[in-house]
């Protein structure tokens, strides 16, 4: 898996046993009345990391963030920030600042006053506040809007004000609660890169909460996928996508085809699986599955080839079906191929050429095939 | 706003409501006082209620008030609803700002001004003061309140309901009576109730605009109150409070029941 981790940056303190954790959640549980929002959760985040908490709504990710900010106290367990136990420390004394989902810009204050608010609370001298505010305005490119009130700004500008306000105090950690949720798609994509640049420039630790996997994948160094108050997997985006730890993760992140089957052979070279759909699978990634066990073979749509002609060999990793649906997306085409067993397999083909030499259409007979290292075996 | 309800919050709410309700409670309690002294408890008695009903002057005034209130509330509801419709539906017409200002100004206008100017108007057009003028005066000031109540409902009214009706072939008048009116009916009913109680309560405007034979209950009460506090007045007041409070509480219980029933129906529908 190390080869996958190195696709992005060489920054990987989680692989370094000597690295000191910066934020530690230690067996943290939080209950509201009878509802357990966070359940016995432990998690470590390193300094300067861009860390994403990813999950569906109600999975406890926002509660986790709010406990870090100090708006909620854990029912049990503890949270350490830079070695210091955060219990009992009110939000206004914590070295963490939050960017709120609603931005929570003070409507009665100008952009400048919003950004200066936190600095004023510190009692900094006026010239210094002014200088810092000017820096921040330059950083988020809002110089000419300094005197405007929040309602006179566009959604993207408001988002940048909220960002500037939360980083103005140079917190140890910046907490971002669905920071891009209110922006439209195009603006969101631009802003993702801006946020990443900003994090690099400031050298801050970012913890971001999002339900948008694409957002998490784009920006984060590592992602914690959460479900029902628990962390299901913590890993880099590439690992999460290519080596999901369970059926849940594989299904939650991205699109996936799952073939259930029984392991017939498993050794260091790989495994053979007798698929329940009537074709056999050979894979180089065994996932540690023992012979005879029931497993799922997970493979992403883009790693499946679709063709009207049979592949070179059809003994394994190949099956014929019928084109059931075609979704033309421009950059790629997604085929839904119905197997004889009834399962529908998604396969996507990049439209690298303007005109394909193998046109497939509805109800055509088509072969799907894939390489031995294209998928992964999931035991849980 | 959410977040914790601190002890300070609880105490201020409790004290606030005590301030609002204690005088009324005391008033009601002392209406059942045996003693003529309103401030000394002399035992439980309903004799003031008995003497109340044999007081012909008060009874006549009550009857006048009831008729004025019903008639003026009804007329005010029709006019107020029309004003609200114009204000929400026609956002652009010459003099809209003037019109809306004129509709809403009486809400905050001191009653002495409203009363005096209405009187001068009646005199100017040659109307003899009496039952008719009081009723007209009450229509004039209570229709503003109706307009406000109905307008606040109309603002959230989904216009596509009307468009759907017209799309299905209903002419505008039919659409209004079959779609719009039933939907805004609760607001119209509360507008009527508000107009009714305002008319029931009014002293100042009635004093200016009423004439011989049209003395309303508040006018009668006022003339007696000026002579001093009597248990009889406490008894009248208790009956008026009981009537209004009973009406309001009953209406809100009906509303609440309906909301609960609706929620239950929706849940049932969800479950299939």
């Amino acid at each position: 898996m190390n080869s996958l981790g190195s696709i992005r940056r060489v920054f990987a303190p989680w692989n370094d046993p000597a690295a000191k954790p910066y934020i530690v959640f230690e067996r943290v549980t939080k209950t509201f009345g009878g509802f357990t929002a966070v359940n016995d959760l432990s998690l470590v985040i390193y300094e300067r990391e861009f860390f994403a908490l990813l999950g569906a709504s109600g999975c406890g990710k926002t509660t986790l963030l709010r406990m870090l900010a100090g708006f909620e106290e854990p029912t049990s367990g503890r949270i350490l920030l830079d070695g210091q136990d955060m219990r009992g420390i009110p939000p206004y004394r914590r070295p963490a600042n939050m960017m709120f989902q609603s931005y929570a810009l003070f409507p009665h204050m100008t952009v400048e006053q919003n950004i200066a608010f936190g600095l004023r609370q510190e009692g900094l001298p006026k010239p210094e506040i002014e200088a810092r505010v000017a820096d921040m305005l330059k950083l988020v490119k809002l110089g000419q809007f300094a005197r405007r009130k929040p309602h006179q700004l566009s959604g993207g500008q408001r988002q940048r004000v909220a960002l500037a306000r939360s980083v103005a105090k140079r917190p140890k950690v910046l907490l971002l609660d669905e920071p891009l949720g209110a922006l439209d798609r195009k603006l969101r994509e631009e802003t993702q890169f801006e946020l990443m640049d900003l994090q690099q420039e400031l050298g801050l630790t970012f913890v971001i909460v999002t339900h948008d996997q694409e957002e998490a994948m784009t920006m984060a160094d590592r992602i914690a996928v959460m479900d029902k108050g628990k962390v299901m997997q913590v890993a880099t985006p590439a690992e999460i996508y290519e080596a999901p730890a369970s059926r849940f993760i594989a299904d939650f992140v991205g699109s996936v085809n799952m073939f259930e089957g029984t392991v017939e052979r498993s050794d260091e070279d790989g495994a053979s699986i007798a698929g329940n759909d009537g074709f056999s699978i050979r894979t180089s990634n065994t996932g540690g599955a023992a012979r005879g066990s029931s497993v799922a073979f997970a493979i992403r749509p883009e790693k499946i080839r679709v063709s009207s002609k049979p592949p070179e060999q059809t003994a394994f990793n190949a099956v014929a079906g019928e084109i059931y649906d075609i979704a033309y997306l421009g950059d790629m085409t997604v085929y839904h191929v119905k197997l004889p067993s009834g399962q529908v397999v998604k396969a996507s083909a990049l439209n690298a050429a303007r005109i394909t030499n193998d046109p497939l259409t509805w109800q055509d007979r088509a072969w799907i095939s894939f390489d031995p290292d294209a998928g992964i075996v999931l035991t849980s | 706003m959410i977040a914790g309800w601190s002890r300070f919050n609880v105490v201020s709410v409790v004290l606030g409501f005590a301030f609002l309700y204690l005088p009324i409670v005391l008033l009601v309690v002392f209406s059942f006082n045996e003693s003529r002294l309103v401030t000394v408890w002399g035992g439980f008695s309903t004799k003031w209620y008995v003497s109340l009903f044999s007081n012909q002057g008060l009874m006549d005034a009550a009857w006048v008030t009831a008729r004025v209130a019903v008639i003026s509330a009804t007329v005010a509801t029709v006019l107020g609803t029309m004003a609200a419709l114009v204000l929400t539906r026609h956002t652009r017409f010459r003099g809209r700002i003037l019109f809306s200002g004129m509709v809403f100004a009486p809400l905050v206008m001191p009653e002495v001004i409203t009363g005096l100017s209405l009187l001068l108007l009646f005199v100017a057009v040659g109307l003899d003061r009496g039952f008719l003028t009081v009723t007209l005066a009450h229509v004039t000031f209570s229709m503003c309140f109706v307009a406000v109540v109905v307008q606040s409902r109309l603002v959230t009214f989904d216009r596509s309901l009307e468009e759907a009706a017209m799309d299905l072939g209903a002419p505008p008048v039919t659409t209004f009576f079959q779609i719009t009116l039933p939907v805004i009916a609760p607001a119209i009913v509360s507008g009527w109730l508000l107009a009714f109680t305002l008319s029931l309560d009014d002293l100042v405007i009635a004093s200016f605009t009423s004439g011989p034979g049209a003395t309303t209950l508040p006018m009668k009460i006022y003339s007696q109150v000026r002579l001093g506090v009597t248990p009889e007045i406490n008894a009248v007041s208790t009956l008026m409070i009981g009537l209004v409070a009973g009406g309001v509480i009953a209406a809100s219980i009906v509303n609440k029941r309906r909301a609960v029933q609706r929620a239950r129906d929706e849940q049932a529908a969800e479950r299939g």
């Binding site: 914590r94 | 609002l20 057009v125 040659g126 200016f208």
Partner: protein
């Protein structure tokens, strides 16, 4: 006192009374003096509207007399310091009462806004309910509480907190209590609605940026509730300036408020032109706060969008 007054109302105002009938002694002397100074009123010269004609001809007479408008009544108002004093004292009393109502109403509205969501509709109804009960009756209820042998003094004497009954009824304090009590719902409702819709994350954001809870209240909550403060204050102040029932029943004969002056001018002295002039000046006085209120409301609606 009141009986004859109401009889006057009933007997109608078909003719202008040059001779005075009954009324509060003090005010009478003043009016006598005025009449003496001015001489017998000449019909049609001093009236805004002439109402001394037989009813049938009023309309045509009114039209004829339109040319006879004069400013005499207004000049009269400036000559007698009584009116100026009444205006000033009304504004002062209304302003103090408004401030008191704000001080009493704000904690209530704040407490309501922070109450559990399930409880809020009930609290809201409890605030509105007194508004549905008769104003006159609610003011009347305070007489029994505030008078020297009233319930409040009995309670305080009984507890041994005071030795001599407090004189509250027929003082300004009684008027303040009456206005605060009667208009409290008008103060609480707009305050509540501005506090209730406030986004709690703003307060969290302030705390997150290093602001203590008390600081967050003054820097965020209070400024943001200003539209509610303004609306509530206007809803109390404007009607309070022209209030008649409260000063009349609780304030006693010493109190000078313009609503009461107008009432006396109309019912006791039966001087319609002067009472009309008093009303017009009062209206002009209130136009500014009313416009201010209207524009504040409009702005609040704009920002709410």
């Amino acid at each position: 006192m009141a009986g004859p007054r109401l009889d006057l109302v009933r007997s109608g105002c078909r003719h202008r009374t040059d001779e005075l009938e009954i009324g509060d002694g003090q005010r009478h002397d003043r009016c006598d003096a005025r009449r003496r100074r001015r001489g017998p009123a000449k019909p049609g010269v001093t009236s805004l509207y002439r109402v001394d004609q037989p009813p049938r001809h009023r309309r045509s007479v009114l039209l004829e007399q339109l040319g006879e408008f004069g400013l005499d009544n207004y000049l009269w108002l400036t000559e007698d310091p009584l009116y100026l004093n009444a205006y000033v004292s009304s504004v002062v009393i209304a302003a103090i009462s408004t401030l008191l109502a704000l001080l009493v109403g704000y904690p209530i509205a704040y407490g309501m806004a922070r109450a559990p969501a399930a409880l809020r509709p009930i609290l809201l109804m409890l605030v509105i309910l007194p508004f549905w009960t008769s104003f006159l009756i609610r003011v009347y209820a305070w007489i029994g509480i505030l008078k020297p042998e009233g319930l409040l003094n009995q309670l305080l004497l009984g507890l041994g907190l005071i030795d001599v009954p407090l004189v509250i009824l027929n003082t300004h304090s009684a008027i303040f209590i009456g206005i605060v009590y009667s208009y409290l719902p008008f103060m609480v409702l707009p305050l509540y609605s501005s506090l209730e819709k406030m986004d709690h994350s703003l307060i969290e954001a302030a705390q997150d940026l290093g602001c203590r809870p008390a600081g967050a209240f003054w820097k965020i909550t209070f400024p943001l509730s200003l539209p509610g403060v303004i609306a509530g204050s206007m809803l109390v102040f404007i009607p309070a300036v022209g209030e008649f029932v409260i000063p009349d029943l609780l304030g006693g004969s010493q109190t000078l408020m313009i609503g009461k002056t107008l009432w006396n001018e109309f019912f006791a002295n039966r001087d319609w032109p002067v009472s009309s002039a008093v009303a017009v000046i009062l209206l002009l006085l209130l136009i500014v706060p009313i416009m201010f209120f209207q524009s504040a409301q409009a702005r609040a609606r704009e920002e709410g969008r």
